[in-house]
Symmetry: C2
Subunit: 705 residues, 2 copies
């Protein structure tokens, strides 16, 4: 007897083939390699496999498609359609059976491999195709005449309903399986990884599955907690790296490991404690538990990478800067004491070379200079260890720069990380030198704060009746973007000269300047504007720290430009995970990046974190990352003889040699007060300072070496 077969076409992929009479659309789709989402495997529970039927004659395929060419919805499908809010005419692919030619349209939300545009930390396109997915299984009860165990019964269902023949259980999952079967009355949801391993089990039906993308910075840990099926970011959290007391930058962490017998183990434990606390914070805020997280993607510079993995970072401290491992790693979270789902994995993105780490790869994924045609893009990720990428699809160069923690608020007198109360924006009036600022958590600029709110929270007038609710969020310190703007503004108005020193006579102009010997401090927030009751200042040393940090980044970028043989870049992307976006104009005034038209400079937020997020949401991105990590050309700045020279030349504002014509336009507003103040420097004659303006002393240069 000949078998009756019908033609089935799937849109938008256009894949087509023949279905046996009575075969379900889901089976046909699987045979044709069309990926339709299904969590419940045909139990009419999840409603994920919804499809539309196109109606009419399709000459291209030579068929006429009609809704009644499919079996009518049965009671189960009708119930599911109502519960899951299917649109009129939509069918469940698992239920609808083929009894005639049909053209099926798979809507975006039903595709297993989705191309969904998601607004994440910044406005980027994220593809959602995670390595983990939930599958719902109703497991037959054991019967005496059957010899297999509970897992074999689960596997039988995976084979028959999901066409998955080779799923292995995480051995620890087996411990939870009988209890889950009992609690779920033999219905469970497994979380599968790469359709190969079952990493988690829950009783009953669930369509949620969670992951975290974490950027392990030298100073800051920043993470996104994500719903892996929808791509929704549930929480974004950050915390200080608990290793900071053992060294402010990566070189001092390496020194600690070299000098202390238990140093490596101690830093490893600290970073794990920090990561576990971060995951707890995010999951608690989202109303779930750390054990609900089944996948973590980690990025970080090479030293953080090694310390997380428990690897010895000391060879990274001197040439030839040897990594223990460069490639990406998939490791069981429990092998490192990371407290997530017992069977969960950590994917660590690959490094590029000795000083060019997984964070750089993540920035590359997020900003994708390797996809740019023609134009040369410069991507600068500002952190304690700065990552720099330069190039386009022909060639991308990568380097890292020992920026130091100034931009993350460390080694700054009133520095703090980007959290509520941090000054993130600063403007200085060129005439009066009055300051207005914006604080994280407070929408209004400080100059329009209501006076009564200020009085009420003046520490000198604090009384019980005012304690209940602050009417304004006062300043607690300065975060990275605030520090950049404060220094750039002071320079713009002529309060500091190109060498970064306060100009003479400031104290006579404003009470905000407090001279301290040859140095001084500039008050940004008065005590009544401060949550601590103490003024918040920028000190001469802070300005120096910012100069050294920006010089390191600039020199790194310059070096890559020299390698590529270019004098100008076409576009600059300023990334950084420390709170507010960096203002391009202030970055240019500071000389943090090479001179570029400001409209071609864009702040892109936490690119490393976003790159980690992309790798979390899409398994294919991980493969791309591995390819890119090998393809990128890296430059070891520490060994370039010209780096030191470029670094020294970049310490003045905006630069000792390189012209910054685009900055000029932004100085006009501050004239003539700016010129008047700067003139005092030459008038009073300060030869030592003038010398350092064109050529800094060795001390300056070595301060960060």
């Amino acid at each position: 007897m000949a078998e009756t077969r019908y033609k089935v076409v799937f849109q938008p992929s256009g894949r087509q083939g023949w279905a046996r009479e009575g075969q379900s659309l889901l089976e046909v789709a699987r045979e044709l390699g069309v990926y339709i989402e299904s969590i419940c495997g045909g139990h009419q529970t999840c409603g994920q496999c919804r499809v539309d039927v196109a109606e009419g004659h399709f000459p291209a395929y030579g068929i006429t498609s009609r809704p009644h060419h499919l079996s009518p919805p049965d009671a189960g499908e009708r119930a599911c359609a109502e519960r899951c809010a299917l649109k009129p005419g939509q069918r469940l692919a698992c239920s609808a059976r083929v009894y005639g030619d049909v053209v099926i349209v798979v809507p975006e939300e039903s595709r297993l491999k989705r191309q969904v545009i998601r607004k994440a930390a910044t406005e980027r396109t994220f593809r959602i195709q995670p390595t983990v997915r939930p599958v719902y299984v109703e497991v037959p009860s054991p019967r005496l005449e059957e010899s297999g165990g509970e897992w074999e019964r689960v596997q039988g269902e995976l084979r028959s309903r999901f066409a998955l023949a080779h799923v292995t259980p995480d051995p620890l999952l087996l411990r939870a399986l009988p209890e889950a079967l009992r609690a779920g009355r033999r219905a469970i949801t497994l979380t599968l990884r790469s359709d190969k391993e079952a990493v988690a089990v829950r009783p009953g039906y669930h369509d949620d599955v969670y992951g975290m993308a974490i950027d392990v910075g030298t100073t800051t840990l920043a993470g996104h907690l994500v719903h892996l099926r929808t791509g929704e970011i549930l929480q974004t959290v950050s915390a200080m790296n608990p290793q900071i007391p053992f060294g402010e930058d990566i070189m001092s962490r390496i020194s600690y490991v070299m000098q202390q017998p238990e140093g490596r183990e101690r830093l490893h434990t600290l970073i794990l404690d920090g990561l576990n606390a971060l995951i707890r914070e995010a999951t608690t805020a989202a109303g779930i538990t750390p054990q609900d997280v089944v996948e973590v993607v980690l990025v970080g510079n090479t030293v953080m990478h090694h310390l997380f993995l428990g690897l010895d970072p000391t060879p990274l401290g001197s040439a030839p800067f040897t990594l223990v491992v460069q490639d990406a790693l998939d490791v069981k979270a429990r092998d490192f004491g990371l407290d997530i789902a017992a069977g969960g994995y950590v994917h660590v993105l690959p490094c590029i070379a000795g000083h060019v780490g997984a964070d750089n790869v993540a920035v590359l994924l997020a900003e994708a200079p390797h996809r740019v045609e023609g134009e040369i893009h410069l991507v600068v990720d500002v952190g304690t260890n700065g990552e720099i990428l330069l190039g386009n699809r022909e060639r991308v160069l990568a380097a890292s720069s020992p920026t130091g923690p100034a931009f993350e608020g460390a080694q700054i007198r009133h520095g703090m990380r980007a959290a509520t109360g941090a000054i993130e924006r600063v403007r200085v009036d060129p005439r009066t030198l009055e300051v207005r600022f914006k604080v994280i958590g407070e929408e209004r600029w400080s100059d329009v704060w209501p006076q009564d709110a200020l009085d009420a929270f003046d520490v000198r007038a604090r009384s019980p009746r005012h304690r209940h609710r602050p009417r304004v969020v006062k300043a607690r310190g300065i975060c990275g973007s605030g520090i950049i703007e404060a220094v750039a503004e002071l320079w713009r108005v002529g309060a500091i000269d190109d060498s970064g020193r306060f100009v003479p006579g400031l104290a006579e102009e404003t009470e905000r300047f407090v001279p301290m010997g040859t140095k001084g401090a500039f008050i940004l927030a008065w005590p009544h504007e401060s949550a601590t009751g103490e003024p918040i200042v920028i000190h001469s040393d802070d300005i120096r720290a910012v100069q050294l940090a920006k010089a390191a980044l600039y020199a790194g970028a310059k070096l890559l430009m020299q390698r590529l043989g270019i004098e100008r870049v076409d576009r600059v992307k300023l990334a950084g995970g420390f709170g507010s976006y960096i203002d391009p104009v202030h970055a240019l005034m500071l000389g943090l990046i090479p001179d570029t038209p400001p409209e071609r400079v864009r702040a892109v937020g936490n690119a490393a974190g976003d790159g980690a997020l992309m790798a979390l949401l899409d398994g294919e991105v991980r493969e791309e990352a591995r390819r890119l990590a090998r393809w990128v050309e890296y430059v070891e700045t520490a060994l370039e003889s010209s780096f030191q020279e470029e670094f020294v030349a970049a310490i003045p504002l905006p630069h000792a040699r390189d012209p910054f014509p685009h900055v000029e336009a932004f100085l006009a507003e501050a004239e003539p007060w700016r010129s008047r103040r700067r003139a005092r420097v030459s008038r009073r004659g300060r030869p030592r300072r003038r010398r350092s303006r064109s050529l800094p002393t060795e001390d300056d240069a070595q301060g960060d070496a």
Copy 2:
């Protein structure tokens, strides 16, 4: 330019193909799928790839083979040949390059997949083809211009020298890699598992790699420590299962787990402690460390299997006797706290069904009834939980029987495990009722022990000058085989009747019998023959325990015979991991197995342990085990209504109903003393006892239920 190629034939496989001029024999072999062992990958270090060159004309292949068709040995090969004791004319396949047609003979010891006959615990054939193998790698020093990490350099060597492109490192191995490279001056030996994962790293060259096969019994843990390349058994160790205080048999262990909230975790921890102690004992005795062990194969009954894996065994306590998992598992030892190499694995053989465990599969592997043509084989593995297999290549039935721990020396007044000082053989003189016995660790039977040695070690005469060295190993207790022989001998000489009770008037015949009310005890070893100074006896209760144990085994075997529709078996194999081999005649007299000509009954030692050993030495055996576990038909004795009846009928010696004609011949020697003693039973008239002889009371039957 045409490439010059020569014909190369490998013997004994007969594989042939073309070699490019100058290609090494090792490369040619790899391309042709001829597996030649090489640890050093062509560094002329290991000498493992030695081959012979056949000389002459070979019409079958149409070539003439000459030694000079290969490149002459270079200095490195000559040095290696001397160091590794190559035979004259032997070449290293890694060094010898092809410059003409050759026929190469690969000796047995150079084959990567070997078929070597090994004498192990018993005389069995073991195939040596382990899942783990050592590879020696000389890792290039890192250079600044290279971006890969140390692992990538290792991987490069694996690719170029071993044609292994996809080896992943155990993440914890990476922690040890830099130190190994330093200590080995960049030469290391990796241990690869299935050529896919590097599970261990050592500095320098090593060709040894170790594994352990462990039978986790309810009462006894028994393990072999093995050199996995040679198959040599370095140590055989055993210990009591530390779970014993929480239940003598599997049902009482299950009860403990059901009644105690922390019971499962406690038994899991205990078994791990026991296994770790066993591994430590074996490795210390062999002069290595537990961390040198990279692979462990575990077998055990289903309850031991579940408790080791931390799985809930309570569903195994009642129908439908549900396993959590039936299939074999490969788990990282560290996931279960097993203290071997950090990256090492445990392979757990599959179970068959609820009460038919991985130990049964191991017995199946070792005794292979499924390979028998025609004849029906019965395999009985005597332990606290007895495993029974019956059939041939057509069909094999499997069952387990709740034997109880009597045969392992537990629940026996002077029982002990098979260790130094255990009475393993017993003979009773039919005329005098005098006893002679043999003790483990002492070659002489007790009746020829020198008198002065006995005096010297008599506790009453112990003095310092005699303490130095015992001249005879005295008895400390009775192990399984001793118990079987003691009971069988007492029955043979008529000291106990068929119901297992001491016959009347024994005390008048011999001082060895001590009446105790309706019961009594028979002294096997006098105080001066005992290491403790106390007599070692067989008590009425011990005889009862042995009867119940043997009845359970017999009933299980009988049930399988009924299922197969047979009345007699062709051969019996008596397995058991408790010391000395069971004597077939005594087993028959006891009625432990169905009546069979004694020459067709063979003791085969620890079959479960040997099966585990086979799976340890040969990865393919593991696949066979998985197939067999699904193929075997299992019988759940606990649910067979006839089991209870068969059990009750099997309690008398040798059996209440079934004839044992082959035993009769062995009773002749004991006549007429035997008849005379047995006659006293009916003379004095003991109706209650006679009743129990043909039909035991309910109490008897339920004693073991």
